[in-house]
Amino acid sequence: MNSTATAAPGGLIFRALRDNPRGKLILLGVFVFLVILPFILPNRFYVRLVNEIMIYALLAMSLDVLLGYTGLLSFMHNAYLGIGAYSTGLFLMHAWSGSVWLAMLAGVLCTMAVALPVGWVQVRTGGLAFALLTLAFGMMFFTVAWKWYPVTGGDDGLMGLPQPTLSLLGINLASSGNSTAMYLFTLGVVTVCFLFTWRVIHSPLGAVLEAIRENEERAAFVGINVRRYKLIGWMLACGLAGAAGSLYILYRGYTGPGVMGAFEGAGVLMMVLLGGMGSLWGPLVGAAIFIFMKDFLSSLTEDWEILVGIIVILLVLFLPRGVAGLPDLLRRTKAE
């Protein structure tokens, strides 16, 4: 752990470039590529698709904080995306649609407010029980969204959402209905979240979380308050998921209980595994693969589910560490 420097993203990039110039240059390249992407894509549909990928990438990354760094399994992390989306949506509809930032803040805070007592209960249990509890609470939140008709719109979801104006430093830029503007907004938020998480993970706090993942008892023995740090990891992951949810409803202009379902939860886990857990950037790639694959195949054939299933099985069997493990794998094959 080499991190004691400034918290500013600029300084971070500079320092990161110094530490690992090649890897970081690639990340910078990807960022620049993503910035110009909406201007070179042939049509708005792909802009929207990449936008959705970035949102799910953020969610998958937040799950990686939990799974890859803290060693805690959450079956239904998408439930917190849903809470973020619903609370942002309800804020825009009933409180104030004037500020997109305030709405996002409301979404993240609501998600964390819900996540705190849940996390408090969950960290009091062991690894497997923790995972099972995430399922129980996740299903509960899902059913609340699904059945609380007067507030959430039940199965039909939130209808009649206003489209707020995206603004930065008091300057109004464009409506969130504008694909390109929404895309760049999402990219900005996701990038800031990524850098923030990167910073946290490569700080002493991240080191503590990894120590807990590696050996909980030993961590406790050297005087780490395991429960407290687990809760911090949980809150970080849920806050990020809430941010992803806020972005989701701004981007989609709609949300229903579907995004919070159990099968979708397994889908998010899959993104993390496909990308490779414990790398932070792997899940971003995993999300891209999963969403693009689903969209592409479901347009290709009615029997797309079989193809998705087969690809998932093959990836799990033959790419055990996900895409993040690919460079390693290639190096080893070359060496042989």
Binding site: M139, A266, E305, I306, I310
Partner: protein, 291 residues
């Protein structure tokens, strides 16, 4: 119709629903107890059992014959799955097999749609099962009573298998201390494979019992999977008695909730799960009591 008749109705309905959950839950737990695999394809195998049964009955087999044969075919499918997919993953963390079986669920569901199409199928029952019979003041479908008997038979057979046969005893031993069993010269791998196949057979049986009950259609495995998961989580992962208890509990809570608070029924079920786990984080009977 008086309240007594309604009460009898509710009790029998709860038992039927709980019984289906029971067979599913116990199957999941047998697989988990010995293989440490959370089989997300369990619901798809349940659907597969119902579809095999449907085809058998459609070509002229008796329902009871189909009830015996269809699960065996599902068991054979389970054997192939174990050998080809689960076996290579044995050393890896549980979440990998979780995602693997998630993919498998898509494949089996998709294949079902490919072969049998999307429309609802109805399993034709023998004439005598299509009527109702008086149970006290209530009139209840004969078929549902037959299912209750079927569930009881499955449970008895399982108890005998686990309690009296060599395979069952090996299973119970291997679930707690595999090294010891292995040291005794027993092939643990074979026991684990048998457990996986047995779990699949149970899924097929549940499907074949539930097929005529809820009708047969491509998505039938999805909700039953979530319900069975709720059951094993409440009962305790890998705990067979826990699954039995939890299945009956969920069956009753769901039926009562549907009757009295209709719209909020499923909320009640998940509240129950969260409540149990908050006080007993590993389920009612805790993890891994394989008996």
């Amino acid at each position: 119709m008086g309240w007594i008749a309604t009460t009898v109705d509710i009790i029998l309905n709860s038992l039927v629903l709980g019984g289906i959950f029971l067979i599913m839950g116990v199957g999941l737990n047998i697989i988990y107890g010995l293989n440490r695999v959370m089989n997300l394809a369990h619901g798809a195998l349940y659907a597969l059992g119902a579809y095999f049964g449907y085809t058998l009955v459609a070509v002229g087999a008796n329902y009871f014959l189909a009830l015996l044969l269809a699960p065996i075919v599902v068991g054979a499918v389970g054997l192939i799955i174990e050998r080809v997919l689960i076996s290579p993953m044995r050393k890896r963390h549980m979440i990998y097999t979780l995602i693997l079986t998630y993919g498998l669920m898509f494949v089996i569901d998709g294949l079902i749609k490919l072969f049998w199409g999307q429309e609802t199928r109805f399993i034709q029952l023998p004439e005598f099962m299509q009527h109702t019979v008086s149970v006290g003041p209530a009139s209840y479908p004969v078929f549902r009573l037959v299912i209750l008997i079927g569930i009881a038979a499955v449970v008895t057979a399982l108890m005998l298998l686990l309690g009296r046969t060599r395979l069952g005893i090996n299973m119970r031993a291997a679930s707690s201390i595999p090294e010891m069993v292995s040291a005794c010269g027993i092939n643990v791998r074979r026991v684990q494979i048998s457990a996986f196949v047995l779990g699949c057979i149970l899924a097929g049986t549940a499907g074949m019992l539930a097929g005529p009950l809820f009708t047969v259609f491509a998505l039938m495995g999805h909700d039953i999977l979530i319900s069975s998961f709720v059951v094993v989580v409440i009962g305790g992962l890998g705990s067979l008695r826990g699954a039995v208890l939890a299945a009956l509990l969920v069956g009753f809570v769901q039926t009562l909730a549907e009757f009295f608070v209709t719209e909020m029924a499923m909320v009640m079920v998940y509240m129950l799960m969260a409540l149990v786990l908050v006080f007993k984080p590993l389920g009612i009977l805790g993890e891994g009591k394989f008996e």
